[in-house]
Amino acid sequence: MSITVHKITKRFAHFTALDRVDLEIPGGRLVALLGPSGSGKTTLLRIIAGLEIADSGVVQFDGEDFSNRTAQQRRVGFVFQHYALFRHMTVFENIAFGLRVRPRRTRPSAQRIRARVTELLELIQLQNQAGRYPTQLSGGQRQRVALARALAVEPSVLLLDEPFGALDAKVRLELRRWLRNLHDEVGVTSVFVTHDQEEALEVADQVAVMNGGRIEQVGTPDDVYHRPTSSFVYNFLGNVNLFHGRIDDGTAYIHEEATGHLVFVRPHALEIARQPRGANYFRATTKHINAAGPLVKVEAVTEWGAPVHVEMAQERFRDLALRNGEVVYITPRDLAVFANEQRAG
């Protein structure tokens, strides 16, 4: 089922959470709402679910206006950041809940419910935990139960609010791959909220980057990472070096009398050498070197005193044999230029 969000606005007291947001989510996709805290992503998700009511704007499911339907009528599966499992019910009862509360006419028989819950327990690989209570499960297990509970009612869309936010790093990595596989298997239109750009880029078919109650860019992970349309998106997706500069005849001059342009370079797109090469370089002094991890991270200070971060392969680092306090020449291989929006107003 496709979801269309049209000119949704939501204000809380003195704070505008969403400002005329438009978003198109095609059926069957897994879409990430990515943004820093306070960007409005959770509010948008809750408005789609019917848990929050927009001040103005329209939410459509498959082209039909759902704005005035309650959460109960929308048939969405909602997964909460802190699981929100029913604490007084066993895992089995939690998953069965959505089927048991149906009106008698549409309620499946006890055997059908049992079969459906067993099937879902297999899907989340917790067949042996059916009789346990939520407090007896680990965080990752609880979140899987929450997912199974949401899927039990065969929702038209699945909405997940920071689904892995409360888990530790390793479980998070495991669970998000599992979610991706699950989505490929079940195929239900899914939207998940995250502030973790790595998570969004790895799991989603499409990423909507949000900032200050607006959507900055919507695109595939490849699009938003490699072809960001705004300085915010470039800045938010991955580490970045920021220089002020000016553009003249298709050439960027950094650290000259800035004339309203921002120049971004990713740390891995900077090349360090001991000798100047070509015409595009600046001089810097290395300050701190961190060689732990797949890439070596070098922190240096430019000749005009700004910090600059460079990442390079371990081999390259060994060839250079860099040490702290050395003078090096840095050449950008790839950069992105945006008009300085703050200045432009």
Partner: protein
Amino acid sequence: MIGAMTLPQAPALGESAPVRRALIGATVMFLGAFLLAPLALIFAVAFGQGIAAYFASFRDPDTLSAIRLTLLAAAIAVPANLVFGVCAAWAIGKFEFFGKSFLISLIDLPFSVSPVVAGLIYVLLFGARGVLGPWLTAHNVHIIFAVPGIVLATIFVTFPFIARELLPLVAAQGNDEEEAALTLGANGWQTFLKVTLPNVKWALLYGVILCNARAMGEFGAVSVVSGHIRGLTMTMPLQIEVLYNDYQFVAAFAVASLLALLALVTLIVKSFVEWRVGKPGGQLA
């Protein structure tokens, strides 16, 4: 060392054994002298002239009428405060609104006001010379020195018990589970019955027990509005006082023993609730 085995503690807090024994001893002695001994004395005096005399006390029609009135007042006050307590805890715990902290203080009012003052409020409102007195007299409605006044005063003094017991729990649990139930297709009533109520049932039970104990035991407020008409507007605590003043010690303490039993039941239920809450599926938070 026995002390170290029964009281495993961080070394920094490990008082020496004599100090520990002295502290525990002092506590037990205090509780014994001020709580257990008087309680035991009630039963000792009540049964002082044999079991027959004890049960004979309950054949007195005035005493029976007092017990009936106490049960009636509790039977009205407890359900009324149950409904109110659940509503108040729900509204205050789940929603944000203007004047919320004022409402919380208001709920606590009966705790901070002397019961005598509480009784006087009703006399000033509904008494013959009260604000609504002439109108009530004209319509032949009797509140003060009658059963309705006793029920009203009881409701007033027991007002905070259930709300106070539920409030912190409801606030700590937040709205997540209710929202989850709604998205799963449950309606408001199903959500309340299957999610909200089971989550607070033990606190609710304890609140009801406390409320009931106070409703049956209230003396001050009820005394002011009762008028002490024997056989009509006497509750158990009032009857105890009257019997005692009439030197009918066995009868006075026999009725008192019923109220003391109620206190014991309250304690047992409290222990049970605490034990139950500690078990899986019964967590408080």
